[in-house]
Structure formats: C-alpha cells, structure tokens
C-alpha cells in the first residue's frame, strides 16, 4: 500500500488523466490543488473500481457518494464529484445579463485562456491585444453612459432652478 502526494494545476478540479499511469499499489493520493478562485486546498482522494466494457478500471472515489468518477470538483475547500455538486459555467449563469453580451464574455474568455493548462494558451501578444480592445470598449461604454447622464442632469438642473425660482419671494 503506497500513498502518493500530487499537485493539480487545474483551477477548480482534479482530473484522473493528469496522474496516469498509476502504479497498482496506489490506494490514495494526497492532492494539493487550486480552488475555482485560485486558492490552494489540500485533500485526500481514494480510488474505486468501475466496470468499463473490457475490464475493471480504477477511478477516483467521490468523498461524498463514494461512486467512481474521472473528475473531482473542488467546492469551497472540499472535494466532490459533479453528481454531488453540479456546477454551472459562467456562461450558463450570466448569459442573460445585459453586460454578458458586451465585455463580460470577453473577460471570461481571457481568464479561461490564461488559467487553462498548456503554454500555447498563454501567448502574451494575444492577451495584450484582447485586453487593449477590452479596455477601449469599457471606456467608450462608460463614456456613452456619462454623456447620457450629463445630458439628463443638465436638463433637470434647469428644471430645478426654474421651479425653485417660482418659490423664491421677490426682494423688497
């Protein structure tokens, strides 16, 4: 019986494929992984057997339901499979919000591209171009918003002055 210590760099999940091939005598893995917010958490994962058409396959055992699974999610510091703790993506959660169509989706794409494993996704030039485009879009959005606010406020300031002047008594 051997106990292993492993590190998983995927934010919010631990995948079995990252640790393959595993020796036969491995019974548990002490995993140091990242939460979906990037916080380092540590936990222990054991194994369970699952019949996979041609033979028994060793997979992670969910700490809650003890059923086999290939990916374990990290939810608020503890480990659970997707059956026990289903998680929706940012797109699923926020696709109907007005800002998602604009810049939020781009930010989400940038964040996912950066935190995804593999050096090919971390090309500074692409990220720089996307961030520059995003910054200019944010500024123009706020610019348009402020223009409308200034326009409305000016009109209303005139209204306030006129209406208030009716109530000011004439000087003696």
């Amino acid at each position: 019986m051997t106990r292993f210590e492993a590190r998983s760099l995927r934010p919010g999940e631990v995948r079995l494929a990252d640790f393959l091939p595993l020796a036969d005598d491995v019974v548990a893995i002490a995993v140091t992984a990242l939460d979906k917010d990037g916080i380092v958490v540590t936990g222990s994962v054991e194994f369970a057997l699952k019949w996979a058409s041609t033979g028994w396959q060793r997979q992670f055992a969910c700490p809650i339901c003890l059923l086999p699974c290939r990916t374990i999610g990290i939810h608020d510091g503890f480990f659970a499979c997707q059956r026990c703790m289903p998680r929706r993506t940012a797109h699923q959660r926020r696709k109907n919000q007005s800002n998602w169509v604009g810049n939020d989706a781009v930010v989400d794409r940038i964040v996912r591209a950066l935190t995804k494993l593999g050096s090919a996704n971390r090309q500074p030039q692409c990220i720089k171009a996307a961030t520059r485009q995003l910054a200019s879009r944010s500024i123009s959005m706020v610019d348009a918003l402020l223009s409308s606010v200034v326009h409305i406020c000016k009109e209303l300031d005139n209204v306030i002055e006129e209406d208030l002047s009716n109530f000011i008594p004439d000087p003696p």
């Binding site: 106990r3 990242l34 306030i160």
Partner: protein, 147 residues
C-alpha cells in the same frame, strides 16, 4: 452721417449655454475624466504589479485590466452619488423622476458589472500566481511517494 451707437443693452443669451458651448463643455469633461482615469489606473496597476513581485506578462496584463475596471467602477460610483443627490432634490417633482431613475438603474448595472469584472480579473491573477508557485520546478516532481 454718423449715426450714434445704439445704447448697450444686456445680452439676454450671454450667460445661457448655447448648444455649441454645451458640446464643448461635454467634450472637455470627457477629456478630463479620460486623463484622470488613465493617471489613476496607471498608478493602481503599478501598485498591484509591485505587490505581486513583478509577475509575468500575462499576470501584468490581467492586473492592468483589473486596475482599469476598478477605476472605472469608482468613477461610475461617484456619478451614481451625484445622480442620487439630484433624485433626492427632485422627489417633489414626480414627473421628472422616470428619466433619472432609469439613468440610476443603468449606472448601478454598469457599476455592478465593472466591480464583478475587476473581482474576476484579480482572482485570475491570483490563480496564475498560485499555479506558478505549485508548478515551481524547485519543488519535488509532479507525483511523489510520501508514505
């Protein structure tokens, strides 16, 4: 024959804003807040990058973006406060309230989105830093026996 000059009367439109003057004022306002935003976001990004010990190019880009969104959120928050003050002054004039409340609603939505975006970006920068720490080659290999 030289006619006498007409008597000087006060110009009724002298102190009133013409559309041209109003446009110029708005343009100046925009230029002013853009310059202020650039200055503040650069300062904030420098502070954040300094706190993260330099970081790499991707982390620096994310921090700069987060700084920009934070400063924009501050600006929108200030404007929100001003609109709120006007709303308070206009409570006795209900016919003028709808455009102002709509405006306040837009501002609140934008501010929430900017704040959330800044939070997401700062979390992403933290994730990148922690990933780099975990993948540090000075540490022992990817998988090791401990017991």
């Amino acid at each position: 024959m030289n006619w006498p000059a007409p008597p000087r009367t006060p110009n009724p439109t002298a102190n009133k804003r013409t559309p041209q003057a109003s446009d110029d004022a708005l343009h100046q306002l925009k230029a002013g807040w853009r310059a202020e935003h650039k200055k503040r976001s650069t300062e904030l990004a420098d502070e954040l990058i300094k706190d993260s010990d330099g970081g790499r190019a991707d982390e620096r880009a994310v921090l700069r973006l987060a700084a920009q969104d934070t400063v924009l959120s501050e600006l929108v928050s200030d404007v929100q406060a001003q609109v709120g003050r006007r709303l308070e002054a206009l409570l006795d004039y209900p016919e003028h309230l709808p455009p102002l409340t709509r405006c306040l609603n837009d501002l609140t939505t934008s501010r929430n989105a900017l704040t959330r975006r800044a939070t997401d970006l700062l979390l992403a920068a933290g994730t990148l830093r922690n990933q780099r720490k975990l993948a540090n080659p000075r540490q022992v290999g990817h998988l090791r026996v401990v017991a």
